[in-house]
């Protein structure tokens, strides 16, 4: 039961990584690509972390996995703001339809 749940979470996580890469390649401008990266990739990593946490040996190991995810979330939240401000300062206009 735990094993199949873990496998399902891992597969879903990898799926979101795939979607994030597709978004990075297909979306029309830097802002929409930022959407794809900050949301899909972080969710993908989160699901992989959850899937691995279910099979972690100790509580501390599971906690460390969670901390890694939270760090990546924080870092990519900051990075997305920085890149968006950079693009705005360079007067890169958002794509509109």
């Amino acid at each position: 039961m735990i094993v199949s749940l873990s496998i399902a979470l891992l597969l879903a996580g990898v799926g979101f990584f795939f979607a994030g890469t597709v978004g990075l390649l297909r979306f029309p401008d830097v802002y929409t690509r930022l959407h794809a990266l900050t949301k899909a990739d972080n969710l993908g990593l989160g699901l992989i972390v959850l899937g691995l946490m279910l099979r972690a040996e100790t509580g501390a190991a599971a906690g460390k996995l969670l901390v890694i995810w939270l760090l990546v979330l924080t870092a990519s939240g900051a990075a997305s703001q920085l890149v968006a401000s950079w693009a705005r300062a360079r007067r890169i206009r958002p794509w509109q339809g």
Binding site: I68, L71, A87
Partner: protein
Amino acid sequence: MTTLYLALTLFLLLTLAAGFWRVRHGPTAADRMLAAQLFGTTSAAILLLLAEALELPALRDVALVLALLAVIAVIAFTASVKTATPDQDSRDDR
């Protein structure tokens, strides 16, 4: 189980490789930097999966360091806003 971890690792590696299309085609420097950010997140996931597949829990520490340091490149990149003059025609930056 190890087979599954290896398969997922391989798949993630292939999506990472696909991201190089964005490094190549830009069009702006920010797009290329975004691709680098994608590599960071994907590498963290790959390391966590490898830690299970190779039974090397210490690889989680590598992922932890990656999570801490991957953002530094983006910070260094955006620091260029202050030193470089704002570019009116950054769309031509391809």
